[in-house]
């Protein structure tokens, strides 16, 4: 099997994520354009023009090409499990030069930029193991401006789901224009502190307009969308009807004494791309 071929495939995955938005996001932004007017409309107009230009010219839509973040489902019968981590690292380095990506990995102690988007614990990869011999990779390049608006609330269980909803709405209103609205918000409820944030981030993998299959959770998502959009923060915080494109909620069981709520925020550039690698080394980027 040609490992270099797989590496090139991963570079294509990153290129696709950085230069083309998924259809569900574009559709949602087009809807926002229809319902907005005034300054808000000018912002969505610029966003749509930018998406179009990035796609046509093959350049990253945003200069913040993010922290390279991947969710990987590895089929346990995939032939080259032991090479996957190296392939990911090498592909990120290669993509940095070829796409190109902005060098975004800085040592917190020395301030030194690693210059190739790798570094301690980065790229950030979440591994899952599944049956079969294919590998499924989702790329979610994560920008800093929206990541800075992440929140963790360790609420008192007594406040219940009403308290959770209030917390999310209040925090998103406080974030105002900073995370480049209209955003997509992922909310993880339950687990421990780290798990709630992880669930929040994982929720961002869901397409825009995808409602949770649990009707009660879907109703919470719908309420959160309505309440956050009623704030009037609007595109880029300049006022308008569209502050979020979507809110996705995921839950885990919790400790009796804890009610953790993790909020992950994704800017309008809700960049996601997927690929599958087969055991014979062939691949497709979707």
């Amino acid at each position: 099997m040609n490992l270099k071929n797989i590496e090139d495939g991963i570079v294509e995955l990153i290129r696709k994520a950085e230069t083309e938005l998924p259809d569900d996001v574009v559709k949602s932004l087009e809807h926002a354009y229809e319902i907005e007017d005034g300054v808000a409309k000018t912002q969505i107009d610029a966003i749509l023009k930018n998406i179009d230009l990035a796609k046509k010219s093959g350049r990253p839509m945003c200069q913040d090409t993010g922290i390279q973040t991947f969710f990987i489902e590895v089929g346990i019968d995939f032939s080259f499990i032991n090479r996957l981590k190296d392939l990911m690292n090498n592909a990120v380095k290669k993509a940095t030069l070829e796409v190109p990506l902005r060098p975004n990995t800085v040592d917190p102690f020395t301030g030194e930029n690693h210059k190739d988007n790798t570094g301690d614990h980065l790229p950030y990869i979440t591994w899952d193991f599944v049956d079969g011999n294919d590998v499924h990779i989702t790329a979610l390049p994560k920008g800093g401006g929206s990541e800075n608006m992440s929140k963790l609330g360790m609420l008192k269980p007594g406040v219940g789901i009403e308290g959770v909803k209030d917390f999310v709405v209040e925090e998103m209103i406080k974030s105002a224009g900073n995370p480049c609205p209209p955003t997509v918000v992922g909310v993880g409820i339950g687990g421990g502190a780290d798990l709630s944030l992880k669930l929040g981030k994982r929720a961002l993998l869901r397409p825009v307009d995808d409602r949770h299959k649990d009707k009660n959770i879907a109703a919470v998502e719908e309420e959160l969308i309505k309440r956050i959009n009623a704030s009037g923060i609007g595109p880029m915080g300049l006022g308008g009807k569209t502050t979020v494109l979507d809110v996705h909620v995921e839950k885990a069981h919790r400790h009796p004494a804890s009610l953790p709520v993790g909020i992950a925020v994704q800017c309008w550039a809700d960049r996601r791309a997927k690929m599958v690698i087969h055991s014979d080394g062939s691949w497709e980027v979707k």
Partner: protein
């Protein structure tokens, strides 16, 4: 109102701008994020003249080809990080147009009035569109020390916009009446 102005803009041009106006600018701008603000405030001498340029809160994605720098993507970064520097920065460097995203706070608002400047918002994330308006990369400063995103880049731009006047020189801010929820 929609305005098309050349940088550097004179005081009268800045004064007529009001919150909600749309602006397109032509001329020179320099990028500066946290590190560059910090460094420029500490330095006695700066190798370019900020008063002739707009200040752009931006950490661009650049590409070097045959020894020449090109802009790949260059949208704005979150301006609120620069709030702790901006009033001193405007006092020292007399630049009168700031371009960023997300808005700034009370200290900057006062400084905008005092030194007659405007804070304008460019669509966050619209990096490809912004790069398209850059005609030339005129220079880069402190690249080795600060790295690509934090270095100061000087761009010559044409009809860069649409910029929304979000905080004007009369003490008004578009963000204030929006945060009530």
């Amino acid at each position: 109102m929609e305005y098309h102005i050349n940088i550097p803009a004179d005081k009268d041009e800045i004064k007529k701008l009001e919150v909600g106006d749309i602006l397109y600018v032509t001329g020179k701008m320099f990028t500066a994020r946290d590190e560059a603000h910090h460094m420029m405030l500490e330095k006695e001498e700066i190798p370019f003249d900020p008063s002739e340029m707009a200040l752009y809160h931006c950490g661009p994605l650049m590409k070097e080809e045959n020894g020449k720098w090109q802009v790949v993507s260059a949208g704005p970064t979150t301006s609120s990080r620069m709030e702790i520097f901006e009033d001193k920065f405007l006092e020292k460097f007399s630049t009168n147009i700031i371009i960023g995203k997300g808005g700034m706070g009370g200290r900057t608002k006062k400084a905008l009035q005092k030194y007659i400047c405007v804070y304008t918002s460019y669509t966050g994330g619209a990096g490809a569109l912004a790069a398209d308006k850059v005609e030339k990369v005129e220079g880069v400063y402190w690249l080795d020390k600060l790295g690509m995103p934090e270095a100061v880049w000087v761009f010559k731009v044409k009809e860069f916009g649409p910029l929304v006047v979000a905080m004007d020189s009369h003490g008004k801010s578009i963000y204030e009446h929006l945060k009530k929820g």
